[in-house]
């Protein structure tokens, strides 16, 4: 601290002496020769080399800003091959065997597909993979089989410039072959020949992996500290090189160029960031819009401190919404007391959306220092959808309760649908006696109808993090689709006379006990209207054995479950099996989150197919809800095929 100012003072004094000596030669009684100047120039050049070597690794640095314009991208399952293989069911068990090499795990996956889809036993399946008779595709046979030669490689220009190695290409073809063996995405692709098989998605890999920060909420931690940007890095080197060369070669112009650089170093070092004292307000044109409406957001940032020469403002757009028009960013300079206003429009999606803090990056005039700040501004947007009840009967399992209702059961009694005729027993209702037969033969018989009774149903939504996946980054994830589906199923089931409740898989606090009635209908609607964003798991208990007992304790007797889950992992399948085994007749409506874009994604589709069939094998009906299918189509198809 003190040394630095001592140096500064020394420099200024020497400068004065130098000027004096220029004006009045001979003032300073120190003799100096030209060789001294040259020697000093060499020293300066050496120092320049030291400075250069010391700062080689440094890079210019500035704060990153999140992609607030887009909604948080939906993770597309199957983007990471290792993750897909980790959760691939084994041939005999729901869980994989945990081999470490990719080739071994792909082999296991192929065996699992053969046993589960083609009905081979495990030993036969292994044999088939070893000998290569499991697929027509030659690269895949060679990759997984033993002593099977690889096909001839055709040399082509495209291959010469390909980014993937031969091994990666073989692996990708094997992945594709396994998916095809499971019946996923087996369109007629040119697989073994040439670059026809070199398909890759042009979607941004960061978007596919869902690894894009779409809000400012996570930024509060990094804010507050000053940071050197290195904006003027390299100018010091220019100074030393110019001064050194100027002295050694005795060129005054180059020497003075060093002085110019020195001036910029002083500029970069001396301008201070100043005390930044900012406040922000945000106004939203409509805080309760209908889903799909556009909403205008206006942000005002006011400077209550001194002059701020460089402010970079990014508004905290809710992660679940995307900007329709305009930019939620602004760059400006503000003098003390000044303010800046900018606005943009959002497209409202169903649910409750909270804005994050306004992120401000302030720099000093020279740009050498920056500081990140988060200005907390609380705003909320709530778009309540008005869902139309599903116009199809919901395929529940057959199970009677004592309440009258619409559900046809397997027991005889009152009703509309004819079931059988039996002998009259005392106490049978007069209206059910078959009077025609009585008139014809004199026998007294009683007509039996299928009894129609109400059922108690709980809609069980899978809102865990693992369910936040979908077929495209811009599309809805499985949680969003599950909630949207529940919004339509809930009133439809109530209309049918059932008692309906709502719960979430996991230790979430969202629970509504099965009931009927107007106020219950409203409560359910409000609960679901909060939208998927408010369902994000906050509990630490992610392990199912913590929360399954709690969940069971809440369900009343004779409840059946309608689970809405993408069924992407073995754990979910096991949970559903367990619930069924505990005596809750369970039906699964499964929004399909997989896509057939790349081989890796198709392998994920194959994995899910195996899991779904494993669940169906235990007697649980699974309705596979494709993204392109409406809920009505799905339910109607299920009822007609039953």
């Amino acid at each position: 601290m003190n040394r630095r100012y001592l140096l500064l003072a020394l420099g200024v004094v020497l400068f004065g002496v130098g000027i004096l000596e220029q004006q009045e030669p001979g003032t300073v009684p120190v003799p100096a020769a030209g060789t001294l100047l040259t020697g000093f120039g060499g020293l300066v050049l050496l120092y320049g080399a030291v400075v250069y070597l010391g700062s080689r690794g440094q890079r210019l640095d500035h704060a990153d800003t999140p992609d607030v314009e887009i909604q948080r991208p939906t993770r597309v399952p199957g983007t990471d091959l290792d993750e897909t293989l980790d959760g691939f069911p084994g041939p005999d068990d729901l869980y994989s065997n945990g081999f470490d090499s990719r080739r071994r795990r792909l082999e296991e996956a192929a065996v699992a597909v053969l046993t589960r889809r083609r009905g081979l036993d495990t030993a036969r399946a292994r044999e088939a993979v070893r000998t290569g008779e499991w697929t027509e595709r030659r690269w895949a046979r060679a990759y997984l089989g033993e002593d099977i030669p690889e096909p001839e490689r055709a040399v082509s220009l495209a291959r010469l410039f390909a980014t993937e190695s031969a091994r990666e290409r073989s692996r990708r073809r094997t992945v594709d072959a396994i998916a095809a063996a499971a019946g996923v995405g087996s369109d007629d692709r040119a697989v073994d020949t040439g670059p026809g098989g070199e398909e890759a998605t042009d979607t941004d890999p960061e978007l596919l992996a869902g690894a894009v920060e779409a809000g400012t909420t996570g930024r509060a931690g990094t804010a507050g500290d000053h940071r050197r940007t290195g904006h003027w890095a390299g100018v010091g080197l220019v100074v030393l090189v110019c001064v050194g060369l100027g002295l050694v070669l005795e060129v005054p112009g180059v020497l003075l160029a060093g002085a110019v650089g020195l001036g910029y170093v002083a500029y970069a070092r001396s301008t201070r960031p100043g005390a930044v004292d900012l406040s922000a307000t945000r106004s939203v044109s409509d805080t309760e819009p209908d889903p799909g409406d556009t909403v205008e957001v206006t942000v005002t940032v006011t400077n209550q401190g001194g002059f701020c020469p460089d402010l970079r403002v990014v508004d905290g757009v809710p992660e679940s919404l995307s900007v329709a028009e305009g930019s939620p960013r602004c760059g400006t300079a503000l003098r003390g007391g000044g303010s800046v206003t900018f606005s943009y429009t959002l497209r409202a999606a169903a649910g409750t959306h909270e804005f994050g803090p306004v992120l401000v990056v302030a720099r000093n005039l020279s740009g050498s220092v920056e500081r990140e700040r988060c200005l907390e501004v609380v705003s909320k947007l709530r778009a309540v959808p008005s869902p139309v009840p599903v116009q199809a009967s919901v395929p529940l399992r057959r199970q009677p309760t004592q309440y009258a209702g619409d559900r046809t059961t397997d027991t005889g009694g009152d009703g509309i649908e004819f079931r059988s005729v039996r002998e009259y027993r005392p106490g049978d209702s007069l209206t059910r006696i078959d009077w025609n037969r009585r008139a014809r033969t004199g026998e007294l018989t009683t007509l039996e109808f299928n009894r129609e009774r109400a059922t108690r149903v709980v809609l069980l939504l899978d809102t865990r993090r693992s369910a936040r996946v979908g077929p495209e980054p811009a599309g809805p994830d499985a949680v969003t689709r599950a909630v949207a589906g529940a919004q339509r199923l809930f009133p439809a089931l109530l209309d049918d006379g059932h008692q309906v409740g709502i719960a979430t898989l996991g230790a979430g606090e969202q629970y509504l006990a099965p009931d009927t009635g107007r106020s219950h209908r409203k409560r359910g609607r409000d609960l679901l209207a909060a939208g998927p964003a408010s369902y994000v798991q906050t509990s630490h208990y992610s392990r199912p054995w913590y929360w399954i007992p709690k969940l069971r304790a809440r369900f009343p007797e004779d409840t059946q479950l309608l689970v809405l889950s993408p069924l992407v992992d073995a754990q979910t399948v096991r949970i559903v099996r367990q619930l069924e085994a505990y005596g809750y007749p369970t039906t699964v409506i499964s929004p399909d989150p997989t896509t057939t874009e790349t081989p890796g994604h198709r392998l994920m589709g194959a994995r899910r197919t195996l899991l779904v069939s494993a669940l169906r094998a235990t007697g649980v009906p699974v309705l596979d809800w494709k993204a392109s299918t409406s809920l009505e189509e799905l339910l109607t198809r299920e009822v007609t095929t039953r």
Partner: protein, 175 residues
């Protein structure tokens, strides 16, 4: 859900600062036009700068600045007058400064956001400092143009280096 609006923002360098940076590079190139030794590196630096700003590559911008400085220094060594050398080196430093600003603002705020005010304030600051430095350098050169006692020059140069070392130790980050 809405397919539109799912484009990630365009984080390319902002236009205003890019144009200003290219202007500074052009100034340097023009100031070095008297000698092919100076002109060729400067022209090369200008091209690298164009490429760096088109692709948003900070390292290319820095490299371009380095080439411009090399050009100016070479020009000075082979005998350029003082004024073009000073203007040239200032232009080179400004080109890096404004180019880096374009890259950083583009990356943080994108091209769609209104950023003209910020960029103009920053550019004005840097240009005024540069103009002051060139003027000061010329004044020193004029006054010292006659007799140049070695002691005086040495005093000035040592003063400059000591100042430089002192400045390097000053950290603009408070606290």
């Amino acid at each position: 859900m809405s397919g539109d609006g799912f484009e990630r923002i365009d984080r390319k360098p902002t236009r205003l600062s890019s144009v200003l940076a290219l202007g500074a590079a052009a100034l340097t190139t023009a100031a070095s036009a008297y000698s092919p030794f100076a002109f060729v590196p400067c022209l090369l630096g200008g091209l690298v700068l164009v490429a760096g700003l088109a692709g948003g590559d900070q390292r290319a911008v820095t490299t371009a600045g380095g080439l411009l400085v090399v050009g100016v220094v070479l020009g000075g060594v082979v005998g350029a007058p003082v004024a073009p050398t000073l203007v040239g080196v200032t232009g080179a430093l400004l080109a890096v400064d404004l180019g880096s600003t374009a890259v950083a603002v583009g990356d943080q705020l994108g091209r769609r956001a209104p950023t003209a005010r910020l960029e103009l304030v920053h550019a004005t600051g840097s240009v005024l400092v540069g103009a002051g430095l060139v003027a000061g350098g010329l004044v020193v050169h004029e006054t010292a143009a006659g007799s140049q006692p070695v002691t005086g020059v040495l005093g000035l140069v040592v003063a400059a280096v000591v100042l430089f070392v002192a400045l390097r130790r000053i950290d603009p980050v408070p606290g």
